[in-house]
């Protein structure tokens, strides 16, 4: 069972070498063994998981073989789950039990996936390290003195430490790609609108992207096959056809034009990470791709635009938590939520709107034009995910601005809506490092081909933590 992928598990299930109930019990045992050490799960839904596994076994017996049937996975605790506590890792929602399932959850359930429980996060998905959780930080399984990245902190840890075969996340400014790269797993931030946001607690509605973590690129594609598509409950999901993401995944990269944005290889980027990305580009060159330098000239302003647009939308989305219909009152918000609510309120308030919010929306246009222009000459763009390797728990806790700057390479994709796939490329000081691959809107199929080609040459994912 070590290093089992979704693909392997599906084969074993189809051949009846193992049942979904056995698989589920196996993962629940690992969860119980390591969760205290890693704090990855906030809620374990054992009873429901075993029921779902039983019903998956029944479907397997009837010859059903949908991609996630009988596969145990975990959900970031910001996905609304009917009858199962959903906290957003905030004291405000400590006792909240939703009356319905979000669209992604419903699609996963309909596909026969088994939901083991809900994973830890920075409260309301506000953070880059997992330390803003009101229920204690998640630990990096490769070294528990270090952060796993955030805001989806628990989910990549469950995959890395083999507590689940896959886990869901949300990426508003890097919250999937950053923790994926810190935990040696594959993480997808889909195109804005590719996966429905309905029933995922809203952080910043024009940026929130609903994605997931897996061990391998192919597993990641199998998961997206289930969650992607238009949803009448989310008016921002366009009716763009969903391709078969695994069919041509081994197509290779011969003739592919890979852009390398010079603005991402700046002072402040750890030179060891820079070297690792350059080595990855050499792998692609050997495989027949063409490496082309591109420019995204407004990159250095992305973080400023992000912390205006995002906090403005946060202040609006969190206005609904008044403790009347559900949840506790507003005195229960933690420090980071308070900071973002106030910053957002300020940039939207009379006298400051034009100077901050309107200005940010205009620069957002320029950021989008940068990407549009680059994709006229290249098929995909490759960049580092984080300027640094994972840091020690507590290192940035008292300096919100330093924490914000760790998103410097990830927020750009959210502001322009393009998809980004983070994949592992190696280790520095025994801690994981990742790179990200961007493509035009709705190019997830291409991103998987590009990620798959690298992973086949350099399967870094096989290096599991020693717990």
């Amino acid at each position: 069972m070590n290093n089992l992928t979704i693909k392997d598990a599906r084969e074993k299930l189809t051949k009846k070498e193992i049942s979904s109930v056995e698989l589920t019990k196996h993962y629940l045992t690992i969860v119980k063994t390591y969760n205290e050490k890693l704090n990855a799960f906030l809620t374990i839904s054992e009873k429901e998981a075993l029921e779902q596994a039983e019903s998956a076994d029944k479907r397997i017996g009837e010859g059903d073989s949908t991609p996630l049937l009988g596969i145990p996975l975990a959900l970031k605790d910001i996905y609304v789950t009917k009858g199962i506590k959903t906290t957003a890792a905030s004291k405000v929602l400590e006792e909240y039990i939703p009356q319905y399932d979000g669209t992604a959850v419903m699609l996963l359930k309909n596909a026969g996936a088994v939901i083991l429980g809900k994973t830890n996060l920075d409260a309301w998905a506000h953070g880059s390290s997992g330390e803003n959780s009101d229920f204690g930080p998640t630990k990096n399984p490769y070294n528990t003195a270090f952060v796993p990245g955030g805001s989806s902190s628990g989910s990549p840890v469950t995959v890395a430490s083999e507590m689940a075969l896959a886990a869901s996340g949300t990426d508003t400014g890097g919250s999937i790609r950053l923790p994926a790269s810190f935990c040696n797993v594959v993480g997808l931030k889909p195109t804005y609108g590719r996966v429905s946001r309905y029933g995922v607690i809203a952080m910043s509605s024009s940026l929130d992207s609903i994605g997931h973590f897996t061990k391998t690129v192919e597993d990641n594609a199998m998961y997206l096959q289930v969650t992607a598509g238009s949803d009448p409950h989310d008016a921002t999901t366009p009716p763009v056809a969903v391709p078969n993401y695994t069919k041509n995944i081994a197509k290779g990269v011969k003739g592919l034009r890979i852009g390398v944005p010079k603005e991402y290889f700046i002072e402040g980027l750890d030179p060891r990470i820079k070297k690792m990305i350059e080595d990855a580009l050499k792998v692609y060159e050997k495989l027949g791709a063409e490496i082309i330098e591109v420019s995204l000239p407004h990159t250095s302003y992305a973080i400023e635009v992000y912390y205006i647009v995002q906090t403005a939308e946060v202040s609006s989305n969190l206005a609904r938590y008044d403790g009347i219909r559900f949840g506790k009152d507003r005195s229960h918000f933690g420090d980071e939520a308070k900071r973002r609510i106030m910053l957002g309120t300020y940039v939207l308030s009379a006298g400051y709107y034009d100077a901050f919010y309107k200005k940010a929306m205009q620069v957002r246009t320029l950021l989008k034009q940068d990407f549009d222009k680059a994709f006229k000459t290249v098929d995909v763009i490759i960049a580092p995910v984080s300027p640094t390797i994972p840091w020690k728990l507590g290192d940035k806790a008292d300096d919100p601005l330093a924490m914000y700057l760790s998103d410097i390479f990830t927020v750009h994709a959210n502001l322009v809506g393009v998809p980004g796939l983070a994949i592992p490329v190696g280790f520095i000081d025994s801690l994981p490092v990742g790179m990200q691959i961007f493509g035009p809107h709705f190019s997830e199929e291409k991103l998987y081909q590009v990620g798959f080609a690298y992973e086949a040459v350099n399967p870094v994912w096989k290096e599991r933590p020693n717990l």
Binding site: Y96, G327, R330, K338, M342
Partner: protein
């Protein structure tokens, strides 16, 4: 850049302790100084972008669909009255 924390907290309906106000004022002022860097960018004749999908006026037929029962909708509320949410009066004399 100086931020009036008490005013902003009032606008956002956030109860803050006096000790918190000082801390947030320092933190938010330094963040605002940082993001003010945007003023360097020339945005004359640049249009706003508030969404990136290009979708406009997504409408649907106005027809009732199954939704939460009154009981389900209310079950997380702290106070209810005759099958409704109970809230505090919004006018001072109530």
């Amino acid at each position: 850049m100086k931020i009036n924390i008490s005013h902003v907290a009032k606008l956002a309906n956030l109860p803050l302790l006096d000790s918190e106000k000082q801390k947030f004022e320092t933190q938010l002022s330094s963040i605002l100084d940082y993001i003010a860097k945007l003023n360097e960018v020339d945005t004359s004749n640049v249009k706003d972008t508030s969404q990136v999908t290009g979708l406009e006026n997504i409408l649907r037929e106005d027809k009732p669909l199954p939704s939460l029962s009154q009981k389900d909708a209310l079950f997380q509320a702290k106070t209810t009255h005759n099958g409704f949410f109970a809230v505090k009066g919004i006018f001072e004399n109530e």
